[in-house]
Amino acid sequence: MSELPILSILLLCPLVAFLVTLVLPESKATAIKAVNAVAGLVTLVLSVIVWAQYDETAGGYQMVEDIPWVADLGIRYTVAVDGVSVVLTLLNAIVFFTGVLSMWTLEKRVKEFFAFMGLLVFGVFGVFISLDIFVFFFFYEVAVLPMYPLIAIWGSTRKEYSAMKLTLFLMVGSALLFPGLIALFVESGGQTWNLVALSEPGTFSEGFQIFVYPLLYVGFGILAGMWPFHSWSPIGHVAAPTAVSMLHAGVLMKLGAFGILRIAIGVLPLGAAYWAPTFAFMATVGIVYGAFVAMRQTDFKYVIGFSSVSHMGIVLLGLNTLGIDGTNGAVFQMFAHGVMTALFFSAVGFIYDQTHDRDIRHFGGLVGQIPVASSFFIVAALCGMGVPGFASFWAELLVFIEALRVFPLLGIAAIAGLIFTAAYILRVLGQAIFGPKNPDWDHLVEPTAWLTLPRIILIAVLLFFGFAPSVMLDMIGSVTGGK
């Protein structure tokens, strides 16, 4: 291979950051942060390069690297990107970089924090670019487990309980994936774990597909916050520290949706077609349910947590339409929701770091006291409501277009969910950000330039793709054929 193995380099970046972090002494906190920030920046640059280098007209998997890993068993380290991976890789890099910057003020056990975070990011990158099922699952598990210490050590409200609950839920998902994924290998004749090869039509009988599909869908779906297996997610959000919430909602939940798209639907299209109405129904319930439950929450992060359930419902609904626009919209929504939720948590985290309070009833008129910090929250809220001008609008639009075609009733219900989405988001805005001033919080200060930078980046990304959605859709469309 004469070309630079750019994907492997991208993958190694967080790993190198992890190792350097392990070597550096705890006392050099700034150096540790700097190392990770640099790693984040490098991954960001690399993923932009990957985006630029990816040939959208050719489509398919590109930048393939293929090395045998466990040769006897047909396991190969095969990494490559298609349009969807490119988008999600960029998302991960953005969230990683901004996450590191958002934790710039961290003082407690800095070394371990960034070590776990580097490991997590490493795993996420690995998932997005692997084509081999074993390698995919390997990275998948690498990405999931650091959540436990990250939440349990640096978290807040009921952190140990939440961390344990989150981990066990995700492992139950893995428990379903184990038989499902391995069955693919065995049923296909025990020769290859390669997703492309397994996706060949005719590899699996319809009966087998119908049998195995729910294992994979639910297994991945748990991580994607699928109703009714979502309850780990808001709890985890509430307990997690800022950057971890950002990663959790920003990229980790996307792993689940990505797994559904790439493996469950990609390899088992007949199974997907059989189960689509059922799972689309559950996704729609998730959309409406999440919005309603969010309406009653009093904790900032619970609201966002349930909004994630609702928004991920849109992703799952889009995937279950099995159509071009629906899939495009779902992937776009993964990206948009990732960035938006990162912004949300980043904004809330900033407020929480100063106040140690997240009860929306204790706040009021924050926009008068800290207009810049509040405006980050407002922007995220607008994006969450699907206001045009932000990326999520287009994503939701596409999903709804397809949903209304394929499942008219579910589509209407999902669109009606927008009303309740507006209701719960405006409730928070009206209660905490606007409204009469609460003098308790007069002492709050605006973010410094370093803390503003990550939020500005996130907003810029949201606006950019809100104004120029075709940049994104051309990339995603190179996979789905939606160009």
Binding site: E26, F137, F138, F139, L145, P149, P179
Partner: protein, 468 residues
């Protein structure tokens, strides 16, 4: 004895045994005895590694096979031995009077285990089984708190002797059914019902070694009551030998595996479930590891009950990777232990601060046992599950995976204690160089095998190829 070089690992062990016996006889200082036996153990590892490619039959009759199956497992046993002896540097859980002598029993038992994985004849096998057990019986009795040690040993030996008696009864039936004691010949004899009954009964002693249900109950008690290094050895070497033994015994059934498989499925499920569920409530770290060992016996059985090359390879791979992972766990036990007392989970509090490296070692151990990458635990489970699905038992994998989820709970509780709880009044821990090196080697092995399982897999695969 036509080819003495085929015996090198055994010779190395014998040498170690003699040397440590000499130390004991002369009455050297415990430290000297330890150094001598460590050196011998390292030599054994080296010899075993060198002997990996050896093949042949050292005796005229076919009672003892040296092939890649036996050699791979011997390497595993010698590694376990070396790690256990390295851990025994800090012998403060061993009775003071026995500190010089203790190593001899390690060697004796290891020798029995090596014979065990090479034995291809029933009497040889039974002798090796007994030989490997005797050393362990004595080792178990040497805990510094004598009441603890003797109780652990008494339970271990009485239960063990009963199990081995059942086994012997089974062997007598096998002999009656096949009229020969050579395992390959028995396998070829066609698997009559009497033979299957014999194999089932023989399993008693074998599953006992593996610590699988229903002969698992000694494991938590003995792990808890034995000195740390003895528990380490028990948990690692014994498991490796048991896998080899089990594969040999099961191979006697010939093609008639249907009923055995059903039974093994039941045994595997019960081992996993009983082990994992019971571990949930344990407060004593060693006892928790004992139950975890029961659960892992269940996982190992998944590979064995597949009766396929893939399954056997997966089980061998699993047990080989299991050794350094468990060594990591017991290293933490030995290092944290104060005056030889068993550490409770609570006493791991603040380990991340008291000794950051030890904290990492514990993390690797727990993730490894739970099957979380980048440890080989994931690959091991993956291969085992592949074998099971290949054999057509999808739902069994589901059961096993749910079990793995349950196990994560108590492993995470340990991690929680080490990483979350404040150290309180527990003192900082200063690792001795030996411990640091041992820990480093085992962690490095674990992480290497986790990222790159291919070499171990090809070893395991070639070993399995001998039987299938």
């Amino acid at each position: 004895m036509s080819h003495p070089e085929l015996f090198c690992p055994e010779f190395a062990l014998l040498l170690g045994a003699l040397l440590s016996f000499a130390c004991a006889a002369i009455g050297t200082k415990a430290r000297t005895a330890w150094l001598v036996s460590l050196a011998a153990a390292i030599i054994t590892v080296g010899t075993s590694a060198l002997a990996l490619p050896y093949q042949g039959h050292p005796f005229a009759t076919d009672i003892y096979a040296v092939d890649s199956f036996s050699q791979v497992l011997k390497l595993g046993i010698s590694l376990a031995l070396a790690f256990a002896i390295a851990i025994s540097q800090r012998q403060d859980s061993t009775r003071a009077s026995a500190r010089t002598e203790v190593h001899f029993f390690f060697y004796l038992s290891a020798l029995g285990m090596m014979m065990l994985v090479s034995a291809t004849e029933l009497l040889t096998l039974y002798i090796a089984l007994e030989l490997s057990a005797y050393g362990l019986y004595i080792l178990a009795a040497l805990h510094r708190r004598e009441r603890l040690g003797s109780e652990a040993a008494a339970k271990y030996i009485l239960f063990g002797a009963a199990a081995s008696a059942i086994s012997l009864y089974g062997i007598s039936l096998i002999y009656g059914a096949a009229q020969t004691t050579y395992i390959p010949a028995i396998a070829a004899s066609g698997g009559s019902p009497l033979l299957i009954a014999g194999v089932v009964l023989t399993l008693a002693g074998v599953l006992y070694k593996l610590a699988a249900f229903p002969v698992h109950s000694w494991a938590p008690d003995t792990y808890q009551g034995a000195p740390h290094e003895a528990s380490t050895f028990l948990a690692t070497a014994s498991k490796v030998a048991a896998v080899g033994l089990l594969l040999r015994v099961l191979s006697m059934a010939g093609g008639n595996t249907e009923h055995l498989r059903t039974m093994l499925i039941v045994v595997a499920i019960l081992s996993m479930s009983v082990g994992n569920l019971s571990a949930l409530f344990q407060k004593d770290f060693k006892r928790l590891l004992g139950f975890s060992a029961v659960a892992h016996a269940g996982y190992l059985l998944l590979g064995l009950l597949s009766f396929s090359k893939l399954g056997a390879a997966a089980a061998i791979f699993y047990v080989l990777t299991y050794v350094p992972i468990v060594v990591c766990a017991f290293l933490v036990v030995a290092a944290v232990s104060h005056n030889g007392a068993n550490p409770s989970i609570a006493s791991l509090a603040g380990l991340y601060k008291r000794s950051p490296f030890l904290g990492l070692v514990l993390l690797v151990a727990m993730f490894g046992l739970a099957g979380i990458p980048p440890t080989p635990g994931l690959a091991g489970k993956w291969f085992l599950f592949s074998a099971v699905i290949d054999a057509g038992h999808l739902w069994l994998v589901l059961v096993a995976a749910v079990n793995a989820t349950i196990s994560l709970y108590y492993y995470l509780l340990v991690v929680k204690a080490a990483y979350l709880d404040p150290p309180g009044e527990y003192p900082d821990i200063k690792l001795s160089p030996t411990y640091s090196i041992t820990a480093f080697v085992s962690v490095a092995l674990v992480v290497f095998m986790g990222f790159y399982p291919a070499p171990i897999w090809s070893m395991a695969s070639s070993a399995a190829a001998v039987l299938f």
